[in-house]
C-alpha cells in the first residue's frame, strides 16, 4: 500500500511539473493549440462545402464535423511534445536524478504520461469551447461532451506512451521532433478530417484499418449525433490497444535506458 501511495505521490508531482513546463513556455503550447486551431479554421472555411456531398454524414455544420479531428490532432501533437520534453530531460540529465531517487522507476514514465494526458484534456476542452463559441452544437449534450473529453484524454495517455518510449530509447529530442511529419501522415490517413467513405484510395482503405479512425469516430459521434455504444466501444478498444503497446514499449525502453545509462 505504501508503494502505491509513493507511486501516486510521484506521479502527481512529476505530472504537475510536466504541465507547468508546457504552460510556462509558449513555444511548447503553440504547436499543440495554435497550429490545429489555424488548420481547423482554414479547413472548415476551405472544405466546408463538402457537407453537401452525397454520402456526407448528417451534421449541423462542417465545424461540428471537424471538431473531433482537431482534438485528435492536438492530442497527437501533445503526445509528440511530451516525448520531446522527456527526451530533453534525458539529455539534460534530469532523469538520472530521478533514477537515483528512491522512487518506483516506472512512476517516472507515468508522471510524464499524466502530464500528457492533462494536455489532452486541455485540448479537448479548448476545441469544445471553440466549437460552442462558433456555433457548433454538441448533440450528445453534457454527457456527450464528457465522453469526447474522456476519450481524448485517454488517447493522449496512449499516444504519450509511444512518445515516451521513443524518448527513452533514443535519448534525443531531435529524433522525437523529427517524428512530427509522421503525426500528420497518420492523421491524414484516418477519418480525422473527412468521412472515410468519401476519401480517395488508397487513403480510404488505410483509414479503414487505422486505429485512429476508430478513436476519431468514437469522439465525433457524441458531437454530431449523440452517444453510440458501438462507436464508443471501438474507440475504447483502439485506445486500450495503443495504451498496451505504449506501456510495453516504454517499459522495454526504460530497461534499455537503465542499462546503458
Amino acid at each position: 500500500m505504501s508503494d502505491l501511495a509513493t507511486t501516486v505521490r510521484v506521479v502527481r508531482a512529476l505530472g504537475a511539473r510536466s504541465i507547468r513546463q508546457t504552460f510556462r513556455r509558449p513555444q511548447l503550447i503553440s504547436p499543440i493549440i495554435v497550429f490545429p486551431t489555424l488548420l481547423l479554421a482554414i479547413q472548415t472555411g476551405g472544405a466546408g462545402a463538402g457537407v453537401e456531398l452525397p454520402g456526407f454524414p448528417p451534421v449541423q455544420s462542417f465545424l461540428q464535423f471537424m471538431l473531433a479531428g482537431s482534438m485528435m490532432q492536438s492530442m497527437m501533437l501533445a503526445g509528440n511534445s511530451g516525448g520531446i520534453a522527456f527526451a530533453v530531460d534525458i539529455e539534460m540529465g534530469f532523469t538520472d536524478r530521478l533514477f537515483a531517487a528512491p522512487i518506483p522507476r516506472f512512476a517516472i514514465v507515468l508522471g510524464r504520461l499524466a502530464g500528457t494526458a492533462a494536455l489532452g484534456l486541455f485540448a479537448a476542452l479548448w476545441f469544445l469551447a471553440i466549437g460552442l463559441i462558433f456555433g457548433a452544437h454538441i448533440e450528445g449534450g453534457v454527457p456527450g461532451a464528457l465522453l469526447a473529453t474522456a476519450l481524448i484524454t485517454a488517447s493522449a495517455l496512449a499516444v504519450g506512451g509511444i512518445g515516451a518510449a521513443i524518448a527513452l530509447r533514443s535519448g534525443s529530442a531531435s529524433v522525437v521532433q523529427g517524428l512530427f511529419p509522421l503525426v500528420l501522415v497518420v492523421l491524414f490517413l484516418s477519418s480525422a478530417f473527412f468521412p472515410q467513405d468519401l476519401m480517395i484510395e488508397p487513403a480510404r482503405t488505410i483509414a479503414e484499418y487505422n486505429p485512429l479512425s476508430f478513436i476519431v469516430e468514437g469522439v465525433r459521434e457524441p458531437i454530431i449525433s449523440g452517444i453510440d455504444l458501438s462507436h464508443t466501444l471501438e474507440a475504447v478498444a483502439a485506445i486500450a490497444g495503443i495504451i498496451v503497446v505504449g506501456l510495453v514499449l516504454s517499459a522495454r525502453a526504460l530497461q534499455h535506458r537503465l542499462r546503458v545509462g
Binding site: 466546408g48 462545402a49 492523421l187 476519401m199
Partner: protein
C-alpha cells in the same frame, strides 16, 4: 589596398552570387538537409488529396482532378516554408555572429539581403519540382509549358517574399525563437486563399478574407494551367500581387537590416 569608392554593379553581383553559393552548402554538405523542406509540402499534398479529393464532385469546381487543383497550393506552401526557413537560418547566423561579418563589410545592405532572398527563391524550386512529379504520377493535368513557367515563377517569387518576411523577423527579434511566427505567417497567407476549393465554394468568412489576400491572385495564377487555359488576365494580377508583396516585405526587411546597429 583601400577602396572607399562605392561598390560597382559587378562587385554587388559577385557578392550576391557568393552568398547564394554559401547558402547552397547546407543542402549539399549536410546529409538530409533538403528532406524537411521537401517532406512537409509533399505530406500536405498527398494528405489533402486523399482526404478532400471528393470535393471535385461539388458544382462549381473547375476540374474533376483534385491533384491538379491542389498541386499549385502545395508548391506555394513549399515556397513559403523554404522562404521562412531562410529567415530561421539568418536568425541562426545572427546568433552565431556571422551576420556581423557581413555587416562590417562595405557591401550595401540590400546586396546582403538579396543574397539570402534569391538563394531561398532558387531553393524553393526543389520541393516544388518534387511535389509536381508526385502529382503527375497521380494523374495531375499537364499545364502546358506556359502554365508550368507561370507556376514556377509564382513559386520563386513567393519564396522570395517569404524570405523577406522571415529575414525581417530574424533581424527584428535577432533570435531563432521567432521561427514559429515565420512559418505560421506564411502558412496562413498561403492557405487563407482558394487553396482547398474555388472562391465561390468557400465559407463566407474565408471568401471575404481570400478576396483581400494578395496570395489569392498568386494561387489562381499558379493554378490556371492545371485547371484550364493560361491567359494574361489570370496572370497579371498574380504578378502585381507578388510585386507588391516583395516591395513591401523587402522594404521592411531592408529597414531591419539597416537598424541592426541601433
Amino acid at each position: 589596398m583601400e577602396a572607399t569608392a562605392s561598390p560597382t554593379w559587378r562587385s554587388n553581383l559577385a557578392t550576391i552570387l557568393a552568398l547564394m553559393a554559401r547558402a547552397k552548402n547546407e543542402l549539399v554538405r549536410v546529409p538530409g538537409a533538403a528532406i524537411p523542406g521537401v517532406l512537409a509540402p509533399t505530406i500536405f499534398f498527398l494528405g489533402l488529396n486523399g482526404v478532400f479529393g471528393a470535393l471535385t464532385q461539388l458544382r462549381g469546381f473547375e476540374t474533376d482532378s483534385y491533384e491538379s487543383f491542389i498541386v499549385p497550393v502545395s508548391m506555394l506552401q513549399g515556397a513559403g516554408f523554404t522562404g521562412a526557413a531562410a529567415g530561421v537560418n539568418l536568425a541562426r547566423d545572427y546568433e552565431q555572429g556571422w551576420v556581423d561579418r557581413l555587416l562590417v563589410s562595405p557591401a550595401p545592405r540590400w546586396v546582403l539581403l538579396a543574397g539570402n532572398v534569391l538563394a531561398a527563391s532558387a531553393r524553393a524550386l526543389i520541393p516544388a519540382t518534387f511535389v509536381l512529379a508526385i502529382a503527375f504520377a497521380l494523374g495531375a493535368r499537364w499545364p502546358g509549358l506556359d502554365g508550368l513557367l507561370v507556376c514556377y515563377l509564382m513559386v520563386a517569387a513567393t519564396a522570395a517574399a517569404a524570405a523577406c518576411w522571415g529575414s525581417m523577423l530574424a533581424l527584428h527579434f535577432k533570435s531563432q525563437s521567432a521561427a514559429p511566427l515565420m512559418q505560421a505567417g506564411m502558412m496562413g497567407l498561403v492557405l487563407l486563399t482558394p487553396a482547398y476549393a474555388p472562391l465561390a465554394l468557400l465559407q463566407p468568412w474565408l471568401e471575404d478574407v481570400a478576396s483581400v489576400n494578395p496570395l489569392t491572385e498568386v494561387v489562381e495564377a499558379a493554378r490556371q494551367g492545371f485547371v484550364g487555359a493560361v491567359t494574361w488576365s489570370e496572370t497579371w494580377p498574380g504578378l502585381v500581387a507578388l510585386t507588391g508583396l516583395l516591395l513591401i516585405l523587402g522594404a521592411l526587411a531592408l529597414r531591419e537590416m539597416r537598424r541592426t546597429n541601433v
